[in-house]
Symmetry: C3
Subunit: 303 residues, 3 copies
């Protein structure tokens, strides 16, 4: 019986370093494996907001453990459209499944689901701050690359205000002894509560506007998208967009071992010229979604 | 080999009491179980009209018996949109699956499918009268609560004219020696053919307009939604809506053991204040969809 | 280890007669069977263009071999809508699955996917020329009917210009010693590159406009739909439509053993009066999608 048995996964901040280590060790063991550990178990995917990558990697993880999957991939065609409440929908899935994976645009949806359901609930992204399994695979990718996370210089770039993968990553990587560089336009600086968390936990961090100014110091460059719609004045967007679009040329000033990460999907914030450089870690990172989610499902549901 | 082997399930009226008993006994045995009884079997869900709850509970039932599932959850993106006929679509699924579960807005769709397909067909709701598996789980829930169905006073409330769960339930519960109270606004009284069926079968029933007048006599209060759109005059709707919305306060006059049932999803016809009363049976009822559908699938396809 | 192990399936022209024979022999063996040959394997369906029949028959094939399935059935709700590139989507599926089945409206999509993915890729229809697995099941149906393909007179009717099933069938059946009759309105004659392929391979063929003129010579009548939208002048369409709509009456002049085929779905190009004649082979043909796709999956992924 794992210490994570029956555990809800709501926010990355709820996990201790030793719990994260346990998940990462299990993920390493499960990488590329097929097992029957969860034969007979059913996972429900309750994706009130669509996300192909996250949903399919959870589904793959469950299938590779011998389990099966039910659920929906968007609100369309579900009882939500007939006016059913979120609570009643979660109660329904609780009747049908052994674990519920929730994605929702509103902050707190996964927590509410966990309060309603007897089955464990995993947050597959809600609101603009929490996406704990994304952060777990991010950390796993960093550890896999460098052998450790402590001591690294980590830059997080782009929309640090509304991007849930970015906020969740900042909170998660702060469990380790890293130096953080929060790189964003002024409009999209990290949320106050995220900054407060960093201060409360004595994390070294600096907020900067231009990647160029710090790129040579970074081991990890975590990129997220800057969306035009976020700017009150479109001219402001045009002014900054170039700095937040990574190209192979920009990486000339990067450290030799530096890796570029991205939660994907990307649109144009990482130029495809980067794909063929040794810095590109984002496809490997996405692939790690499967073993990390396998580890989590097995530790929560497994005998 | 069960006596239900290979059987189509089109209307609740086609089932004898002893067949319903068999299904309910099997459901009781299967509750909470995982088996390999239907390993290698494929169920097709042909949901021409969406219904998350019914579809996912059929899917869960099939998975818990070790089988697998293909199909579609709405007409969108199917060949129906390219102009393919209902018949050709059913013939296709007949080629691919061992049993076909059909949901359709039009009465008679499941029967037509059963005539076309070699595989057994289960009606998961068509037209405004038939939803046999819903009724089976309704009856199972009543029997589970009271130990028997005979002798109970059963009220059915709401839209008895267009609501298929309500009509199907009235027909099904009439197989038992119950006293029926059909409670609805005049516009939404039970269909003539349903009333004729009750008379032909010497079922005791009375038609009333207000729940308040009979609530103290009822063992079962089966609630369905009254939709504004059903009224020619919106003022008529406003006049009656209060009487068809159950609250904890209304239940003060109910019998101590009385249960409130609902096919779900509900919108606002049962106030959430009812959820925490001992009368609330609807979540338990919905959960029973899984063992009852498991029983049916196993008896039709097994052995 | 089969000689098709790990093979991409992009166009029917890439397959030799002996490879097609191998697939058809395997399909015959697998017809009606359930195996565990692909237990633990995951197939991804990447249907950028919807197709219920092709998708569900691939899914059924995989399930009957003991494998499982992930994927999407249309672009709706996927990351494509968020602006993700085709390449990144394919790379994602490559991380999650053992084989990728691609459907796309654009020619070359499957080939591009095969270049990007480590996993084998099967073209489930792209552009207006390639639909290799459809052609394989077409050939299998002919062989099953006549015991051989060589020596037959084969008519292909309808939209030979834009219809991908028709073009792919013409290319595939030309691997055999058949006499081809290409029957279409002038606007919808076979594509130049298809005609060039026939000439390069010394295939006997003739292009005609009216089925009536050649129907008595045909063993196989392969029907596809003529769409009104394809005609610049609607009056032209009205003039020809009758000749491209098969009825039982028209088949009075056909050979006794002649079979009518169609890739389905049909709209009105084969009257339902044909369904009950011994000529109707299209439902049997559609059913053959399962064993042929089982054979292919097993030969590519199996042991």
């Amino acid at each position: 019986m794992s210490e994570l048995s029956g555990r809800d996964v709501i926010s990355i901040v709820d996990f201790s370093r030793s719990e994260l280590d346990l998940i990462m060790e299990e993920a390493e063991k499960l990488k590329g494996k097929r097992t029957d550990d969860l034969k007979g178990k059913i996972m429900a995917t309750a994706f009130f907001e669509p996300s192909t990558r996250t949903r399919l990697s959870f589904q793959t993880a469950m299938l590779r453990l011998g389990g099966s999957v039910i659920g929906f991939s968007s609100e369309e065609g579900t009882s939500i459209e007939k006016g059913e409440s979120f609570s009643d929908t979660i109660r329904m899935l609780d009747n049908y499944s052994d674990i519920i994976v929730v994605r929702h645009r509103l902050e707190g949806a996964a927590k509410l689901a966990a309060e309603l359901a007897d089955a464990p609930v995993i947050n597959a992204g809600d609101g603009s701050k929490n996406h704990p399994t994304q952060t777990m695979l991010d950390l796993f990718t960093i550890k896999e690359t460098f052998g450790h996370i402590d001591g690294l210089n980590v830059g997080v770039l782009g929309d640090l205000r509304f991007g849930r993968a970015a906020s969740s990553f900042i909170l998660g990587v702060s469990k380790y002894n890293v130096k953080l560089f929060l790189i964003s336009p002024p409009e999209l600086k990290a949320r106050r509560d995220v900054i407060a968390y960093l201060k409360d936990n004595n994390i070294k961090f600096s907020e900067v506007e231009r990647l160029e100014d710090v790129i040579s110091e970074l081991d990890v460059i975590y990129v997220t998208r800057v969306q035009k719609e976020r700017f009150a004045d479109p001219a402001e967007y045009e002014k900054v967009r170039g700095s937040y679009r990574i190209t192979a040329r920009m990486l000339a000033s990067a450290r030799k071992e530096a890796i570029v990460m991205h939660p994907l999907p990307r649109v144009d914030e990482i130029d495809i010229s980067v794909d063929s450089t040794p810095h590109a870690a984002y496809f490997r990172q996405a692939a790690n979604g499967v073993p990390v989610r396998m580890a989590l499902l097995k530790l929560i549901l497994g005998g």
